[in-house]
Symmetry: C2
Subunit: 167 residues, 2 copies
């Protein structure tokens, strides 16, 4: 039976939710990673993915500047990195300089891949749409990578940035 | 270590993925449910969600017609309904007439709620964006409902519509 409740209560049922780390370079050429829970595939042919980024986030500037971004699926071992990248702003901090996280150059776009992620998708920015307090960036996937070692994905398993793996 | 692979291979790492059922009425007033894997929250204030619907799907017409839709989080017991709603077209079949699935009227929009779902969100259509072979519908949540009994959410746990629960 359904009972009408506040949105803040009902949305708790979304967990566990997949987490991604999006990476784009700013105008100084510095790669800026941000942890995001709001992402989805949006096209099969061509393959495309979307991410929703809060309007106040520095990532808005970096993605608009470089017109491309990486979407990495962090592994369950990367919870500390995901928390750091999601709680600091690239306006104040060079996140990759301050947190030890292995990276390698992307192949088709001017961005980085996360070496220990489950997978990395290189995206060119195709369009963007406004939605309330977020901007939706729609990217076309131009290269895909997986980890040579089997890894479990990182999930948000409850409110308040509680992270873990689900399988 | 990352290794470049085909997209079709890399995207297998997305599972388990949450499934939703979107419902909108067509011009005959018939509610049409469709099962979707591609969905995300897109705004916190106001609360908004987006769904990506294949351009060829009948649901495109129904959502554009009624300018509102329900997003239901099906429970793990609803795998058969999710498969039926996701594999038939509302052009050919009255899905709610052919598959026994308890519904009740939405409170704020002209749509239905799924009685046995984990949660239901009533959305008004705010905007839409094109992305490859899909249309992204962006909805503002105007009412939220949860099940009075605790239920587990339904997930796609692997390619080929393999459904199950994750926790």
């Amino acid at each position: 039976m359904q009972k009408q409740v506040e949105y803040s209560e009902a949305i708790k049922t979304k967990y566990p939710e997949q987490v991604v780390i999006a990476i784009a370079k700013d105008k100084k050429g510095r790669a800026n990673p941000v942890t995001l829970g709001w992402t989805m595939i949006v096209s099969g042919e061509p393959p495309m993915m979307a991410i929703a980024v809060a309007k106040k986030h520095y990532s808005i500037e970096t993605i608009r500047h470089s017109k491309c971004f990486t979407i990495a699926f962090p592994s369950s071992e990367m919870a500390d990195a995901a928390l750091f990248f999601g709680s600091k702003s690239g306006r104040d901090v060079d996140k990759f300089a301050e947190f030890d996280c292995a990276t390698e150059p992307a192949k088709k776009i001017d961005s980085l891949l996360l070496t220990d992620a489950v997978a990395n998708f290189e995206c060119t920015l195709e369009s963007q749409a406004e939605a309330g307090d977020h901007i939706i960036f729609i990217g076309k996937i131009v290269a895909s990578h997986t980890n040579t070692d089997p890894k479990k994905r990182l999930y948000t398993i409850g409110p308040g940035h509680k992270l873990g793996s689900a399988s």
